[in-house]
């Protein structure tokens, strides 16, 4: 690596900001994200939300594609167990998530980059806290290894 290249790489790392995708169920976590905003709880702007009706709508492929396309972390947010608007979508999400983690590891990606959280519509504060914490975890892990190659 030439001197100039190394400098660029270093500069890149310093400036590097994680890119985090949050796939949120409409009835709980998406509402919690709104709530965090309206109560002015701040969290890292690295986190960006995509809305789905229910955590049960999330296909494992969505997460894999996100990672393959360069997201540094993916968080799926749903309602607390027993509170799913569609009765049990979140249980299905949980079952798929166990399986998803294994695939992620097989792809050579740290499993900590994917996460499943139950955040209720009233838990604006929890949403902000989880985002801060997830952002910190991803910062420690550094950029998505698939993005480097």
């Amino acid at each position: 690596m030439s001197q100039a290249q190394a400098e660029v790489a270093e500069k890149k790392n310093e400036e590097w900001e994680p890119n985090i995708l949050v796939i949120a169920c409409n009835w709980c976590t998406y509402q919690a994200a709104d709530m965090a905003g309206s109560l002015r709880y701040s969290y890292p702007p690295t986190c960006k939300v995509v809305r789905v009706p229910c955590s049960g709508r999330v296909e494992p492929e969505f997460v894999i594609e996100a990672l393959l396309n360069g997201a540094d972390g993916v968080l799926i947010g749903g309602c607390h167990p027993g509170d799913c608007h569609y009765k049990e979508g979140n249980y299905k999400a949980l079952r798929r998530f166990e399986w998803l983690k294994k695939i992620v590891e097989e792809l050579g990606i740290e499993p900590e980059r994917v996460r499943l959280e139950w955040i209720a519509g009233s838990e604006g504060l929890k949403f902000a806290e989880v985002m801060k914490e997830f952002d910190a975890t991803i910062r420690k892990l550094g950029p998505n290894p698939l993005k480097k190659v």
Partner: protein, 699 residues
């Protein structure tokens, strides 16, 4: 506008006054949006949702400039319907609309990081545009609504809900688990704050229910299963076996007294202070006034057990009958025909359901410190029965320990001297506002203690009455005036907790407490101690809630959709709640909620049909392999495998049942299921746009 027309997207960015523009550089986002694929128009405005803001969008649609609309503003949870309507008004299919949430989820949350907030807003807009490029036009669906309502629970709340709906022309099925309607109010003597006789105001309403042409009264019945959803619930109701032919029973009561002593059990209506036979009518004013046999108590006199056997014959050749059937003048209690112990299953089709299953009071035996075994320690509900003219002592105030003696004498037609109390002490908040039992306030106890004290003091001025209160809560209309009247009558109020009751050798009771006003322990010697035990949800409420698919809160009462704005709605559309099943309350509040629930059901069902968003799933029969994986996954049973023309089985989704959760869509291994509004391509386009940020995927 046809589907395959190339997208021409208009992006409209809202300043929301300073709410967005204060953190996000709106102009920079607008410049960026212009670079996005298929975007042809970008505008920004101070308040997009205002009339002139919406007009900007409408004009562009009418001018044929745009055929897809993205509004970057607040949250779709509140504003999507508004902008969809604007699109529709201008002639665009309203599902050609997508929202970018750059206020609640961007400017507000990142107020102090303006540059980063602007970058994030750009990413959010880019993702929304990516989805907008793939939007499809959809048509709203309508579902037919059944104009019939099931009301569960026939207390005062259920009665009012049923009557209001029936009077408005709706068919009502009133399901009550006990043999009569009336609920707890039927047990009360007089009612605060006006002290009018409970039976006098309740009985006419009960009769009106029974005679109403629009009310199908199902007493001694319980809900067994509920399927379907708003507008079309399919309900199975179990009519329990009464073991009495109700078509023949006239409610004459001849059978009540002949039941032998071995078959006598504590009478629920008198709160266990007297006994009833195995065959019984719950109370004199019962509606319907019909007898039932309690099979757990029945000793099957003469082997008469409803198994379909003819009676045995005595030596003299006469059939041996049970006393009840022998005495019944109409043959209603006849025990020869076989009666199915499972009763009968009734199927109902209703558009809405109102749950009004009320409460029960806590049993005194939970409270060991208050000598619960002592017959003169009673609950306030027992006090209601003791002072009621239909109670065990016919309203005469005696010591509860004397009731058996009185009843025995009455049976023999003799006169007897019984002891009367000189002192009565009430203890408040027993089981309420107490971390060991319930943290909530039962709300009616302060008032009913004052009521009972007032009634007793007015009738027996020589009585000494003490009430231990933690504090007196009388916030209702005319309630504090009521309290002041009580004080003027000379009822002694002690502010402080009573800690225990000790039975004295002379059969009296020593109540030990603490008087917070003088800061000292106090002791009161009393003849009767009345415990204001907490109001609790019925023990079967949790199970009923599960059957209905509605929630209960931490304390076990039914949970309303929103405490302030939707107090009688539940999270399940079409199911409403009223009365004490929702939480402890008095009669005026129970009635108000019942009327609110009835009105909500009416406004829901009256139009006869309801628009539902077409955001539901659909199977592509060509791709479906018939594996059946999706079928058991659907929480609403909307999916079934049906045989196609070619003989192969394919999956099919019933659009009336699908709620659009997308669980099946995510699970189908053949990608045969599309969830409209959240299709695989649409969601993936958003995800990829964010994942690749700041690069914009071209395809």
């Amino acid at each position: 506008m046809s589907n395959d027309e190339k997208p021409r997207i208009g992006v409209y960015i809202c300043h929301c006054g300073e709410n967005i523009a204060g953190a996000v550089d709106v102009k920079a986002v607008a410049e960026f949006a212009k670079t996005l694929p298929d975007v042809v128009v970008v505008r920004d405005y101070l308040f997009m949702c205002s009339d002139p803001g919406q007009e900007l969008i409408k004009q562009d649609i009418r001018d044929g400039l745009v055929n897809r609309v993205v509004v970057a503003a607040c949250t779709p949870r509140t504003h999507e319907p508004i902008f969809r309507k604007a699109c529709e008004d201008a002639g665009l299919n309203k599902y050609y609309f997508e929202m970018a949430n750059i206020r609640d989820q961007c400017s507000w949350a990142h107020w102090h990081e303006k540059e980063k907030a602007t970058e994030k807003a750009k990413a959010i807009v880019a993702a929304a545009v990516a989805k907008a490029r793939l939007l499809e036009p959809l048509e709203d669906r309508y579902i037919e609504l059944t104009k019939e309502v099931m009301v569960i629970g026939g207390g005062i709340a259920g009665i009012f809900a049923a009557l209001d709906l029936a009077n408005a022309g709706f068919k009502v099925h009133l399901v009550e688990k006990s043999p009569s309607i009336g609920g707890n109010m039927a047990k009360l003597d007089k009612t605060f704050p006006t002290n009018d006789c409970s039976a006098c105001i309740l009985t006419p309403l009960m009769v009106e229910v029974a005679n109403h042409p629009n009310i199908n009264l199902l007493t001694y019945s319980e809900v067994e299963s509920v399927e379907g959803s708003v507008g079309n619930f399919k309900v199975k109701v179990r009519k329990k076996q009464t073991y009495v032919d109700w078509d023949k029973c006239t409610g004459c009561g001849a059978c009540l007294d002949v039941c032998p002593p071995k078959a006598r059990v504590p009478d629920e209506f008198n709160e266990g202070m007297s006994l009833r036979g195995a065959i019984y009518i719950p109370f004199p004013q019962a509606v319907p006034k019909k007898a039932v046999v309690d099979m757990d108590a029945c000793i099957k006199c003469g082997g008469r057990d409803f198994s379909g056997k003819e009676p045995r014959l005595s030596k003299s050749g006469k059939p041996i009958l049970a006393p009840c059937e022998k005495v019944c003048p109409t043959g209603a209690a006849d025990r020869t025909p076989y009666r199915d112990p499972n009763g009968e299953l009734v199927e109902l089709n209703v558009g809405a359901i109102i749950v009004a299953t009320g409460y029960k009071v806590m049993d005194k035996h939970h409270f060991k410190e208050f000598a619960p075994e002592h017959p003169n320690v009673i609950t306030a509900m027992q006090m209601e029965r003791l002072i009621s003219a239909t109670g065990p002592s016919e309203g005469k105030l005696i010591k509860p320990s004397e009731i058996p003696k009185l009843l025995e004498a009455k049976k023999k037609g003799e006169k007897v001297e019984v002891e009367k109390p000189h002192t009565i002490t009430f203890i408040s908040c027993v089981g309420s506002r107490d971390n060991r039992y319930h943290t909530y306030c039962s709300r009616v106890c302060c008032m009913y203690m004052l009521k009972q004290a007032m009634i007793l003091k007015e009738k027996y001025p020589d009585l000494d009455i003490y009430i231990f209160f933690i504090d007196v809560r009388t916030p209702g209309k005319d309630f504090d005036e009521y309290y002041m009247r009580c004080r003027q009558l000379g009822i002694k109020i002690i502010k402080g907790r009573a800690g225990g009751i000790q039975p004295l050798p002379d059969d009296r009771l020593l109540v030990k407490g603490y008087d917070a006003e003088i800061g000292k322990p106090v002791e009161v010697v009393t003849d009767i101690a009345v415990l204001a035990t907490a109001i609790e949800p019925n023990p079967t409420l949790k199970e009923l809630a599960r059957t209905l698919g509605i929630n209960v809160g931490a304390e076990g009462f039914l949970k309303e959709r929103h405490t302030k704005l939707y107090p009688v709605d539940t999270m399940t559309e079409g199911i409403f709640i009223a009365g004490c099943a929702q939480g402890p309350k008095d009669i005026p509040d129970s009635v108000a909620q019942a009327k609110a629930a009835a009105a909500s059901a009416m406004s829901l069902l009256d139009p006869g049909k309801m628009t539902v968003e077409p955001l539901i799933s659909e199977v592509n029969k060509e791709k479906c392999t018939g594996c059946g994986i999706c079928v058991p996954l659907c929480p609403y049973g909307a999916i079934s495998l049906v045989e196609c023309e070619d003989g192969k089985k394919k999956s099919e989704i019933n659009p009336a049942l699908c709620k659009g959760c997308g669980v099946c869509t995510a699970a189908c291994p053949s990608k045969a299921i599309t969830l409209h509004g959240f299709t695989y391509d649409q969601v993936l386009a958003q995800i990829k746009t964010i994942a690749r940020w700041p690069e914009i995927p071209a395809e």
